[in-house]
Amino acid sequence: MSQISIRGVKKVYQKTEVIHGVDVEIEHGEFVVILGPSGCGKSTLLRMIAGLEDISAGEISIGGQVVNKLEPRERGCAMVFQNYALYPHMTVKQNIGYALKVAKVAKPEREARVMAVAESVSLVPFLDRRPGELSGGQRQRVAMARAMVREPKVFLFDEPFSNLDAKLRVAMRAEVRRLHRDLGVTSVFVTHDQIEAMTLADKLIIMNAGNVEQIGRPTDVYNHPASRFVADFIGSPAMNLFDGEFDAEGEFLYGQGGRMSVPQLNGVRQPGRKVVLGVRPESVRRTGADAHGAIPAVVDYVEELGASRLIHAEANGSRFVAVDTETAAITNGMPVHLSVDGAALHLFSAEDGRRITH
């Protein structure tokens, strides 16, 4: 039986519907990341699980119990907020222990539990300080400790690392991963950072404009994006996408007179149907002029990444991004030849953006 079950959940503000019916099952002990651009409804969904927003339609159950009408405190969830939301006038110890104090846990037990949690996130030296005297990373750890001390059934994270700098973010990511491994508590984590999502998630939920676009393991989502939106959103640099159609000979026509022969797509080609062909930059390579299927292109600019570089080029009126690991000098405006790995192609319908499977 799944731990959290979300069935047909909708959210309506005044008259605008912002979440259009979401169905998700979250298993016990799973780490689920909800990923999407800002305004896609991911935080709203999380807040509905937490009980901070009313559920306009549908049903959410936690541990087999429908929680639609339950107060936040009765749901057994703990939440880590984006801006930490620590009580500024309380010490770290009081902040962590507040939930226990409200729950009327006896003082000795409370102190012991606060101590244990503080140890697990290395906050013991700071217990008597106030949030104002702590750094961002320490405040974040207090926020996590405050969530952990209640021993909740579910952890909810609402973009918790968006105020931290890049290095600290990586460290906190590792910390969250470790805590999840140690505690094994079901966790729902909302973020707009795809690297965070890919590295943390057991299961990834991609949301867009109030709809769930795809649910799956991070590698599945990366390798088999279910829609054009997911293909575009996941992966950095973003996937090359070409609008076009197949002709009677089975060649893909795109841009201004561009032709690509794609024998790998034999089964799904429908001549005349508008489609979108996608290929990840790492499957586009620089090649010799005489290679089979080489596409002549002109380099627009090059992004140096250290271990590799990204070549932004133009061919047949379409833009290509290719990952290049060679070191030969490339200058802007230089003609190059690109080849596309036919085995790594993604095909989407141009009408609804859904994947055309092959």
């Binding site: 405190r73 801006n83 939301a85 500024p88 006038h89 405050r146 209640r150």
Partner: protein
């Protein structure tokens, strides 16, 4: 604007000194007059130098005005009003800011509008209520015919009466509603981030627990600032105590007592005693402001988070 030139400095100092002189001069006159004998204070032109009769005048004023009881009364009333105002203001602002009920904007505006109705304007109806605090209920019973019904059925004449005249309740209760305080609290509560409210909800705190454990400690400076203003204004309250107190001996306040220490047309013009009494009476608010000043400024201007 920062400007540094000797002329400008001299000018600003001059302005400040004139301002200070205007504020301090009346106090100086009070102190001087309070220290002079009857002859000295009656001489024309009056001397602006203090004399040696201060202690004599102070004890005379204390005796004649019965200021012991009066100061105590004033203290009870001022502290009562201050505590009442802060409690009521905090709770009503809490309701208005953190609860989403249908008529909350109407409630807020109703409270806000009373800013335009100072005590002096509503003093007659307020007096009527104070004379019988249950009068509105009596009126409701009369209008709805319940009085008649009860009388017909049981033969008992319903006549509600709760007289607040000549009581501390009467001196305090009508003054505890404060639009200013509610407004100040509302402004402060609105700076509390929503996440803090949500965090306390997730921690399982009820609304009242959030109020006590989070809002009240956070609004401490705010509260002290408000307390200072409210204490001073209720200490200085003159008209209401004068109106509601007929038993001046037991329930008179210090400020209204001052009126009876002013020399009458045909009496001895002993202004020195009057000034000595004024000196005694203005001491408590002065001390409160002096002690609270630090908080006062912080609470009204900046917010230490």
């Amino acid at each position: 604007m920062i400007e540094r030139s000797p002329y400008f400095d001299a000018f600003t100092y001059a302005v400040m000194i004139i301002g200070l002189g205007l504020v301090v001069f009346p106090f100086w006159v009070v102190i001087v007059a309070a220290s002079q004998s009857l002859q000295e204070v009656s001489s024309v032109p009056i001397s602006l130098l203090p004399s040696d009769q201060l202690w004599v005048n102070l004890s005379e004023a204390w005796e004649r005005g019965g200021l012991g009881t009066k100061m105590l009364n004033s203290m009870i009333v001022s502290v009562g009003v201050t505590i009442g105002k802060i409690t009521l203001a905090a709770m009503s602002a809490f309701a208005i800011v953190f609860f989403n009920f249908r008529s909350r904007m109407i409630c807020f505006w109703l409270i806000f509008i009373t800013l335009m109705l100072p005590l002096e304007v509503r003093i007659v109806p307020t007096y009527a209520i104070a004379a019988n605090a249950l009068m509105p209920f009596q009126a409701i019973l009369d209008v709805t015919g319940l009085t008649w019904l009860v009388q017909t059925v049981s033969g008992v004449q319903v006549s509600l009466n709760w007289n607040l005249l000549n009581s501390y309740t009467g001196l305090i209760l009508p003054l505890v509603a404060t639009a200013t305080g509610t407004f100040l609290y509302r402004q402060f509560f609105m700076t509390i981030p929503d996440e803090l409210v949500e965090a306390s909800k997730m921690d399982g705190a009820s609304a009242m627990e959030f109020f006590w454990d989070v809002l009240i400690p956070l609004s401490r400076t705010n509260m002290l600032a408000l307390a200072t203003i409210m204490f001073v204004s209720s200490w200085n309250q003159y008209l209401w105590p004068l109106l509601i107190t007929t038993d001046r001996e037991n329930f008179g306040t210090a400020v209204m007592q001052l009126r009876f220490l002013i020399p009458t047309m045909n009496g001895t013009p002993d202004w020195n005693v009057t000034m000595a009494a004024a000196l005694i009476i203005m001491l408590p608010p002065l001390l409160v402001v002096a002690f609270m000043q630090r908080w006062f400024v912080r609470g009204l201007i900046s917010r230490d988070k």
